[in-house]
């Protein structure tokens, strides 16, 4: 049985690597290697909140290790959607049974920076150990102390993650061997202490690249060449945040800082998981750290990524009566099947966003400035219409409601097309099937990953065929030899 297991994982790994999809394997430095900057340099106070707590905030631990049942933070259970399936964030409170209460510092470190858990073995890189591996020893210790001493132990048994074949935990040995260093950001020459601090916050603690840096076919980071250049993650698009003009190159420092702190500026609104990151992490960073993050992002190597359409300066006026006919008879009153983007926009959207897309001031971007509208892919427009935007306690006055129960996929496609054409100057329309794939989270996922299950089985069967065929051949030869 065990032999079969090994054979399966080995052939899966073989299939992946042999298929020629591997990226250059960067040096897999030991976990303690190359700290980029020390937390101490930023002058973090050791008075409350404790240093460990600040590291937990900057590390955005609470976003994933949340308890969706509403329990206290860090007790886990939140399911992170990945192309391979749901990965459940563990309970990282000090509860000895269901949490990490019995762990030594070394064991904690091995999980945090090495990707191997005392309890469950190899972690999936949904846990950003490929970024955390560059944390300083001091910070690892401070975080350990915080979780052990300050966070209340909570008993909460978290469901096991079962991604199934071929994505087995044991197969992660091979992934780690090849890619655990892939998240290493380019080193900046002559970086000031502030920029170094910013890089530590962005690339190590904040693990921004886990979402914003594109991934290769084996989900390894492309930080070497396209660091922070924008990527599809889950069912949202994490935009280019490199210093290129298609990234944040044209943002002022003040805008960037305001966005990190409040989740909204003239050209962007933090939706999806970015909203969460702003709420539980970025908005709580000290001012000096926010300045450091801004300084570093402005200093990152520019990555062109997907182009951002120029701002549409003047939106042509529209006469609502021209697209809103008087209802002809009673049937028209409840016929809500229209896929006329103009009509839908005027009825469902214009009360907040204005007929010309310029309203909703204070609520977030005008549609003509919005980076999501001007992006070359429609993912975030579709997501925003469907799921809305809610910054929670950060902004109690503005919220975009979800339109999921009011509009079907074709209507969401029609509004997305209308909004992008009219306010983003992007002529390409969004199809209903695109909306479906965006919402399912299968949009723009590597073909290999989407099809990995049957491919791996195919590889396994082929492997068996080779083994059995070879065995038969040998047996036959042996028989022939005997016969001779």
């Amino acid at each position: 049985m065990r032999g079969l297991f090994l054979l399966v994982t080995a052939s899966a790994a073989l299939l992946f690597t042999a298929a020629g999809f591997s990226q250059s394997t960067e040096n897999t430095a030991p976990a303690t290697d190359a700290p980029i900057a020390s937390s101490q340099a930023a002058g973090m106070s050791t008075t409350p909140p404790s240093r460990g707590k600040l590291i937990a905030i900057a590390g955005d631990c609470a976003a994933c290790h949340a308890n969706p049942a509403g329990g206290s933070e860090f007790s886990g259970g939140f399911a992170l959607a990945t192309p391979m399936g749901k990965v459940y964030a563990r309970n990282i409170t000090s509860d000895p049974k269901t949490g990490i209460g019995g762990w030594t510092l070394q064991e904690f470190d091995q999980a945090l920076r090495g990707g191997r858990s005392k309890n469950i073995g190899h972690l999936y890189p949904a846990m950003p150990y490929t970024s955390y591996r560059y944390m300083t020893d001091d910070d690892v210790k401070a975080l350990y102390d915080y979780l052990m001493d300050e966070v209340q132990p909570v008993q909460n048994a978290v469901p096991e993650t079962h991604l199934g074949f071929p994505f087995l935990r044991s197969a992660m040995v091979f992934w780690d061997a090849l890619f655990s260093g892939s998240g290493k950001a380019p080193t900046l020459e002559n970086a000031s202490p502030q920029i170094q601090r910013g890089q530590y916050l962005v690339d190590v603690l904040g693990h921004c690249g886990e979402c914003h840096t594109p991934r290769g076919l084996m989900l390894q980071s492309k930080a070497g060449s396209e660091h922070l250049g924008g990527a599809v993650v889950g069912s949202w698009y994490a935009p280019n945040i490199s210093s290129d003009k298609n990234g944040i190159g044209r943002w002022t420092d003040e805008e960037l800082k305001k966005f990190l702190e409040h989740g909204k500026v003239k050209s962007a609104n933090a939706g999806g998981d970015m909203g969460l990151a702003v709420r539980v992490s970025l908005s709580q960073l000290p001012q000096s750290d926010l300045d450091a993050v801004v300084a570093y992002l402005k200093a990152t190597p520019p990555v062109v990524g997907q182009p951002l359409a120029p701002v549409v300066e003047k939106v042509a006026p529209i006469e609502p009566a021209s697209v809103e006919p008087v209802n002809a008879d009673y049937k028209a009153f409840f016929d809500a099947s229209s896929t006329n983007g103009t009509l839908l926009y005027l009825s469902a959207c214009a009360a907040c966003h204005g007929v010309d897309g310029s309203l909703a001031k204070g609520a977030g971007p005008s549609l003509t400035h919005s980076g999501a509208v001007r992006a070359s892919n429609p993912i975030n427009v579709v997501q925003t219409i469907t799921t809305g935007i809610n910054l929670g306690e950060l902004d109690q006055q503005h919220l975009m409601p979800s339109f999921r129960s009011e509009l079907n996929d074709a209507q969401i496609a029609a509004i997305a097309s209308y909004v992008r054409q009219r306010f983003g100057g992007i002529q390409q329309s969004v199809s209903e099937s695109e909306v479906v794939s965006i919402l399912k989270g299968t949009h723009d996922i590597p073909w290999l990953l989407l099809n990995a299950r049957w491919l791996a089985w195919l590889g396994l069967i082929a492997g068996f065929a080779v083994v059995i065929g070879g065995g038969l051949l040998i047996a036959r030869r042996a028989r022939l030899k005997k016969a001779v």
Binding site: Y330, A336, A348, C352
Partner: protein
């Protein structure tokens, strides 16, 4: 085949029916909701309203369907009334509580004891304390903005009243300019203008955005979903597993010898019939359709009170041209209310009333008036905004008393597309109600004096608010009421009526929150029993 199609069937998918359905579903019961009208998304209602030439008919945007007539369908109500208008009803998923201003008062403790306190009208079989926990539950469900420290009775200056077990979920929205000015200038006359608690979110609440003052609260519906509305309650019920069938009209209820309801049957809008069985039946068809269904089936009428005691809340509207532009029509549709006459000993002789500066833009009405004048051309053009800016509409809600002569009965001479009858609708404003007019005129004179009004009110008229009550009254005595204190029919142990139609008295404030509170109370009761 299973013995029952569901544990509970709720007839009428409005806000109140949805609350009962939700409670039962949360308790693990199977629930079907049946709705005569169609499903219409909010954006479609907005579009219907914008493209409609009939802006004066508030329920027109929800449609007028041959198989599900509403109270404004031509001929459906055979009216014998002495008011200018009559209440609107909505036949659509979400019900009439989609078309509401969203004002969410609690009734006062004394409102439940009108007869024993003032010797008029009827007492309720339950009191404020019985309902208080459910008021709270309803307020948090709906998401109510209100002022915890207000005396809402006008009689307990400086003290919060009535008492509450929990604060309002949200504080009031920002005060519209016109309200600020009116409060400042009317306070010296002793007029207590307070915030009207409402279902508009003043901050993001339960996935709803905060109100941005579109001023369309009930004309036809909040365009951004800041105000709670009946279809949101239905959405919550469906999320909890309640099955909804729309465009089906229940017209038949069958009972056994003991009076228990054994089955119901409905027609689809094309006349296809289906029969369903449940353990418990709930009719939540508002105060017209609920008695109509029972009258059609000769049920629940041991008392002879079925369909009687209709109350509609007459209102009295006056328009004043004040000496400064207040530009009513910016901000919330109805934000502030004068409560001086909401409670007190005067109720022995004359109706309680509340009066509010109705924050709407009256351009159409005022233009019509100015067109009758001699003004033409640029002078007319200038006169319109001048008049609109300085016109204040004061609108009151007058307490109504139950009178068995007011009510609805079947009108077999009118038939809808499915062959079902129309309704005779009779209403007279009570003398008790009219007796409060001197108090209103006195207040009007004070308002005129304080606001520098030089002319008599431009317009004055009786309207009725869209507040239907009384047709299936609740009480402990089966000889003079239709349902008991738990909203169960005296005559049918597995039939409940969840509607504002059960109110024994009307009070002088908007009835909806009390309806939701009663629905929560009945919902818990039904969920535990079935």
């Amino acid at each position: 085949m299973a013995e029952y199609d569901a544990d509970v069937i709720v007839i009428g998918a409005g806000g109140l029916g949805a609350v009962v359905a939700l409670q039962a579903a949360k308790a693990g019961k199977s629930v079907i909701m049946l709705e005569a009208g169609p499903e219409i998304p909010n954006w479609k209602v907005i579009q219907n309203w914008r493209s409609s030439p009939r802006k004066d008919n508030f329920v027109a945007p929800y449609g007028d369907y041959p198989w599900a007539p509403n109270s404004y369908t031509k001929g459906y109500l055979d009216k014998d009334i002495d008011t200018l208008r009559w209440p609107g009803t909505v036949r659509a998923v979400g019900g009439t509580s989609r078309h509401w201003t969203g004002i969410t008062w609690r009734f006062l403790p004394e409102d439940f004891k009108l007869q024993s306190t003032h010797g008029v009208g009827r007492d309720w079989p339950i009191g404020y304390d019985d309902l208080e926990p459910f008021y709270t539950e309803a307020e948090y469900f709906i998401g109510v903005s209100g002022m915890d420290s207000d005396d809402q009775s006008g009689k307990h200056a400086g003290l919060a009243y009535p008492h509450r077990s929990k604060p309002y979920p949200m504080s009031p929205e920002a005060k519209p300019y016109s309200v600020q000015r009116l409060q400042m200038r009317l306070a010296p006359m002793g007029m207590r203008i307070i915030h009207a608690p409402c279902a508009r979110a003043s901050r993001n609440y339960d996935g709803r955005p905060a109100c941005i003052g579109n001023n369309l609260c009930q004309q036809p519906e909040c365009p951004i979903g800041a105000k709670f509305s009946g279809e949101m309650a239905v959405e919550k019920a469906r999320a909890a597993g309640v099955k909804l069938r729309s465009e089906v009209v229940v017209d038949t209820l069958k009972k056994d010898g003991s009076g228990k309801i054994t089955s119901l049957s409905y027609q689809t809008r094309d006349g296809v019939r289906q029969t369903l069985k449940a353990k418990t039946y709930v009719i939540a068809g508002h105060a017209l359709e609920t008695p109509k269904l029972l009258l059609m089936n000769e049920l629940a009428n041991r008392s002879g009170q079925l369909g009687r005691n209709l109350m509609v809340h007459p209102g009295f509207a006056s328009f004043f041209e004040v000496d400064e532009p207040l530009w009513q029509g910016r901000g919330q549709y109805n934000h502030a209310i004068m409560v001086n006459w909401r409670s007190g000993d005067h109720r022995k002789e004359s109706a309680a009333f509340t009066m509010s500066p109705w924050n709407v833009n009256k351009t159409a009405d005022l233009t019509n008036i100015l067109l009758q004048s001699k003004l033409i051309g640029s002078k007319l053009d200038a006169a319109i905004p001048e008049a609109v800016g300085r016109t204040v509409m004061m609108l009151s809600i007058l307490e109504d008393l139950a009178n068995p002569d007011n009510g609805v009965s079947l009108n077999p001479n009118w038939k809808d597309a499915l062959g079902l009858p129309g309704l005779h609708f009779k209403y007279r404003v009570a003398d008790y109600t009219k007796a409060c007019l001197p108090n209103i005129f006195n207040d009007s004179a004070n308002i005129a004096q304080a606001m520098g009004v030089k002319k008599a009110p431009m317009l004055e008229y009786f309207i009725t608010h869209g507040h239907l009550m009384g047709t299936v009254m609740m009480g402990d005595d089966p000889s003079n009421s239709v349902v008991d204190r738990n909203l169960r029919c005296h005559d049918h142990e597995n039939l409940f009526l969840v509607t504002t139609g059960v109110y024994p008295s009307s009070t002088a404030v908007n009835p909806t929150l009390t309806g939701y509170a009663l629905a929560f109370r009945a919902g818990h009761y039904i969920a535990a029993e079935v």
